[in-house]
Symmetry: C2
Subunit: 198 residues, 2 copies
DNA sequence: CGTTTTGCAATACGATCGCATCGTAACAGG
DNA sequence: CCTGTTACGATGCGATCGTATTGCAAAACG
């Protein structure tokens, strides 16, 4: 029992975090292909090309694995946002609301997984909390960006309303694109128009 | 093999449709409480207070039961819309987009089930087709209502765009209310404002 | 060298699953 | 009455599930 096992002794050196991410990525693929119902330790292990024992070793339980996949998804989206730090507020705002629109198969995987977690969040407390926090963060960030874009101070009470409408619209449009009722370009164009109306 | 078994002979008279609806209702409850993952023939049977054999008799397979639950949900929503036939176009439009906002526990069950099916539709072809048809119907109806409300003829090209934005916004807001990030009243107010802006 | 700790792979177990099968009670028609 | 059909309830089966357990190879430490 020490602060970090890395600091004192570490037999059999492996990159803990890399192993975890590799498994989480396989989890995402399974969810995207078969939905969250299709997630079993055996399926994920097969997709990742590792043994079930490894997954147990790194995540302990299926529950923990699924939850780790959720937080990893949120972290990944947040990381993508941080990369836009140099852009103008208006462009950053557009990124936040349109980043989830699936433009290719890769994006489709990501947003499929995201929607799977959204549905799970209805009945699963821990997932709901993770998504709720992410949503709150996105909302606050949108409010900040809207105010920055308009050059207004913190006294703009309509910004929250605009942010909410923008984010809700983005969610609805994302769903349409996901089920192929709408083309990605059309969705992005509608979001762009909505952003510029602010 | 005859047109309707009712017409010629029917030993052991039971109301076929009533039995099916009773089971479907139990299915909805299970989905609302435990998500679609929690659906098993045994759980649904227990919730309905019937035997597994009965469910098999009326639906044959789990797959068929789940799909029947989906079409029943769509039909139920459509039935609710038909009851607004006497109202003004603007009010009917508001009904279409705000009917899904959960105001009480009953509404919450319905929309939980609806979102569960939405997530399933990503990976399930038959469910996707049912929901796609319903969405198309809703979109066309919204376009009609918008044109009727503005007194415009069929020459209004912006109506489709408005309908799409309205429906997408409704979906996004519904989700917020469902996960308790937003109050039902706020969501309805936002939709009302959006309807009146048209 | 040996000891200890980590990083797994393999397997075993009990629970739960969808579904097929079988038996039977209830009723209609002859 | 008898026969045929429907409407189930009950049960069993093989597959799959999550997880606990066991065992061992590899590497760090002394």
């Amino acid at each position: 029992m020490q602060l970090y096992c890395y600091a004192v002794r570490m037999p059999r050196i492996v990159d803990h975090e890399e192993r975890r991410q590799q498994i989480v990525f396989a989890l995402w693929l399974v969810i995207a292909e078969q939905g969250i119902e299709g997630v079993s330790l055996r399926h994920v292990a097969a997709e990742a090309g590792v043994s079930m024992g490894r997954i147990q070793h790194y995540f302990g339980t299926k529950e923990a694995l699924v939850l780790a996949g959720c937080t990893a998804l949120v972290d990944s989206a947040y990381g993508g946002y941080l990369e836009t730090a140099d852009a103008a507020p208006r462009d950053r705002l557009l990124h936040v609301v349109s980043q989830q629109i699936p433009r290719d198969d890769g994006g489709r995987v990501g947003v499929s997984v995201w929607y799977a977690y959204v549905a799970k969040s209805i009945n699963h407390t821990a997932v709901r909390q993770v998504l709720a926090e992410a949503r709150r963060g996105a909302e606050e960030e949108c409010v900040r960006l809207i105010r920055a874009d308009r050059g207004a101070g913190a006294e703009d009470p309509a910004a929250l309303d605009r942010a909410r409408r923008l984010l809700a619209l983005a969610d609805g449009l994302t769903l349409r694109v996901l089920v192929r009722d709408l083309e990605p370009d059309e969705a992005v164009a509608m979001l762009e128009a909505e952003v510029d109306r602010i």
